[in-house]
């Protein structure tokens, strides 16, 4: 046969401890990634009366609750910005992050049927689950633009940094989500743990309150939470509040990437037994 060289070759052997990350294989399967994201988006608001309006309604309702509780009852300061828009600006990256984290953590266990019947690079499951929230983000962002116009707030040149901040939120979700998704396959406890983790994380991020409420001496440790930088960055870019400290952000970003790298390795080590344990 003359075409022998083009024939793909697969070598099956027992699992080794360390594996190459096989980025090339992910590229081969890029269409599957696309279809899984597409499916997630298509299915999310099927058989709902108002459809994708939920993407707007969820952060909007949160904003109303926050405004009632934190502005009128707790009398929280909001850096001189009207509280509703102050909260909504933070709720956007936050819902994107929390959705991505929850979906990513459940991704492999939820696809049990796929994992046990078909081969595909398992990393595709958490990857596609994490990314699919971007459409919701885009929809709810449109409402933010209207709110800014309503309040007559002019965004700064910082908006150019928004994609980077969003990417950082995505990486943060993935860095924690990868660990949880691999653990979730074996320990279903993770499924029960995630809602609490997300809630705790929200209180540890400046969603409902400004960073200025945090006592000065704790602020450095507090800012190591990468979502602090993301949310502060969003407010800085859109509302013109104080710029987050880029040096602190650099530290938290390095932590995210270290966690992400270790997460990928852990995931790759665990994935060989997914089909047997799931």
């Amino acid at each position: 046969m003359e075409s022998t060289e083009q024939i793909p070759f697969i070598h099956i052997q027992p699992a080794r401890k360390w594996l190459s990350l096989d980025v090339g294989e992910l590229w081969v399967y890029r269409e599957l990634i696309y279809f899984l994201i597409w499916r997630d988006i298509k299915v999310r608001y099927k058989q709902t009366a108002i459809g994708a309006a939920w993407a707007i309604l969820q952060p909007l309702l949160m904003m109303v609750i926050f405004t009632l509780v934190f502005q009128y009852i707790a009398k929280i300061q909001s850096d001189g910005v009207p509280y509703p828009v102050f909260a909504y600006t933070a709720l956007l990256p936050w819902s994107f992050f929390s959705g991505a984290l929850s979906r990513c953590s459940a991704s492999v266990a939820q696809q049990a049927n796929l994992v046990s019947k078909v081969y595909f690079p398992r990393l595709i499951a958490p990857l596609s689950a994490t990314v699919s929230g971007i459409v919701d983000f885009a929809i709810s962002f449109a409402l933010l633009a209207l709110m800014l116009a309503w309040y007559g707030i002019m965004p700064t040149w910082g908006v150019l940094a928004l994609p980077v901040l969003l990417f950082l939120a995505l990486m943060t979700a993935l860095s924690v989500g990868l660990w949880l998704s691999a653990l979730h396959v074996k320990y279903h406890d993770v499924g029960h743990l995630i809602p609490f983790l997300v809630q705790m994380w929200m209180y540890a991020s400046p969603v409902a309150y400004p960073v200025s409420e945090i006592p000065e001496k704790w602020r450095l440790i507090y800012s190591l939470n990468p979502m602090v930088g993301v949310i502060e960055g969003f407010r800085w870019a859109l509302l013109g509040t104080q710029r987050p400290d880029f040096r602190v952000m650099a530290v938290s970003i390095s932590c995210v990437f270290a966690l992400l790298f270790a997460g990928v390795i852990y995931f790759k080590r665990m994935e060989r037994s997914f089909a047997d344990v799931i």
């Binding site: 697969i10 052997q13 027992p14 269409e31 058989q47 595909f120 089909a275 047997d276």
Partner: protein
């Protein structure tokens, strides 16, 4: 031919029993940890129980070969396919596969109930490894094959199970890898559709693609495959031509069933009389010989009366094909006969002059009872899938087209035309 497509060397797969149940939750993990700590103190080791689902499997498959894998439940067939599809990794050994692999361990993997038929074709196609452009090109063909054109934009959760399977198989049938790994996916759907699927597989095989095929449908293995393996307890018991392996498998299967029927627990009825053996025997041929299409056969039930005597014994034999569809039944009630008083052990023989079954594997359900008044009876013993038997085709005719029909009936043809004298008679011969 000649070039190797799949080379398997010493593949073994070990599972640890209990891994699934015990360690599912952290609590289980902790409690297990505690108990095993105690056990270790008490000195009774023996905890991580393991078993080998596959043990030292080696074989080669040449390009363009169609190889069947047969074996009972738990023989390791599915595990082997999972290892070769890279779903799970082997514990030992290695395999080399040359070519694009498509594996079909299930039809409709990844189908989403909320999505429409059209959307699911794309999703499922991508999951099975098809390119988007490829799916687009074959889309019309897939829809036509599935015979559900009208419902293509309906969410699949509104489909009947038959429609669902049709659509799923239509996608799978259009997969064009160099190597196709197929598990028992044909056991779904109605008979006509199964035939269509087998036909598709046959044409795939004729295009020179390599197929590894697991099936309980021995007739399909025999007609599709050139070679076959018999897998038992995770080991290759026998390799050879499909014909030889199927024959051997049937031989291993049969004595088992004969001796076991009396001891089966999965039976219902009051047990006053029990079927202890069943046999489908060719008359005048006292040992061996498989029943053949259109030839006489005797169904023999050996019974054992547990109390002194049973009055007015009733018997029924119900024949199903290998996918569980009823084909026909024979019963004493149909002929309005019963056996006045029966005691001890004995045999009931049901004579059939013309076996109306196509070649293939069939299962029988046996039922014994007592009449208790007007056309009513009390069930004494019923066993589902009490035994199976293999029907071979009638050797003296060549190719027979059974036209996808479930049964074969004796019939004759006659030509009658105004300008043809005399009428020609052709006796049907099967």
């Amino acid at each position: 031919m000649g070039d190797i497509a799949i080379q398997v060397r010493g593949i073994s797969k070990q599972y640890s029993i209990g891994l699934y149940q015990r360690h599912d939750t952290l609590r289980d993990y902790i409690s297990h940890g505690l108990t095993s700590a105690f056990r270790r103190k008490n000195g009774s080791g023996q905890e991580q129980q393991t078993f080998w689902a596959l043990k030292d499997i080696s074989f080669d498959v040449a390009q363009g070969e169609v190889v069947g894998i047969v074996g009972g439940n738990g023989a390791g067939k599915s595990t082997l396919l999972k290892v070769l599809s890279r779903i799970t990794s082997p514990t030992e050994g290695a395999a080399k596969i040359y070519g694009r692999v498509g594996s079909l361990l299930e039809v409709g993997t990844g189908f989403h109930p909320e999505l429409t038929g059209r959307e699911n074709i794309f999703l499922n196609g991508a999951i099975l490894g098809m390119r988007k452009a490829e799916i687009q090109r074959k889309f019309d063909e897939i829809v036509a094959f599935s015979e559900i054109e009208k419902f293509i934009d309906t969410p699949v959760k509104r489909y009947s199970s038959g429609m669902y399977v049709r659509l799923a198989f239509a996608v799978a049938a259009h997969l064009e890898p160099e190597i196709l790994i197929v598990d028992e996916v044909l056991a779904v759907g109605d008979v006509a559709f199964q035939k269509k699927c087998l036909g598709t597989m046959d044409s795939v095989a004729k295009q020179g693609r390599t197929i590894l095929f697991v099936s309980h449908n021995l007739a399909a293995v025999r007609s599709l495959c050139s070679r076959a393996f018999l897998l038992m307890n995770g080991q290759i018991q026998m390799a050879g031509t499909a014909e030889e392996v199927v024959q051997q498998y049937v031989r291993i299967l049969e004595p088992d069933q004969r001796s076991l029927l009396g001891e089966r627990r999965d039976r219902s009825g009051d047990g006053t009389v029990r079927a202890i053996a069943f046999e489908a025997r060719v008359p005048d041929q006292h040992n061996g010989g498989s029943p053949r299409t259109g030839a006489p056969v005797d169904f023999i039930i050996e019974y054992n009366v547990q109390q002194d005597v049973v009055r007015r014994l009733y018997a029924q034999i119900y024949v199903t094909d290998s996918s569980g569809n009823a084909v026909f039944a024979c019963s004493t009630a149909m002929l309005n006969v019963d056996f006045a008083s029966v005691s001890g052990k004995g045999r009931l023989i049901c004579h059939i002059d013309y076996l109306p079954l196509k070649p293939g594997r069939y299962w029988v359900n046996t039922k014994l009872g007592k009449y208790s008044g007007h056309s009513r009876y009390e069930k004494a013993d019923e066993v589902q899938n009490a035994a199976s038997f293999e029907v071979l085709d009638n050797g003296d005719s060549g190719f027979i087209d059974y036209a996808n029909a479930p049964v074969v009936v004796p019939h004759q043809w006659e030509l009658s035309s105004s300008n043809t004298q005399p009428a020609a008679f052709v006796t049907s011969k099967l």
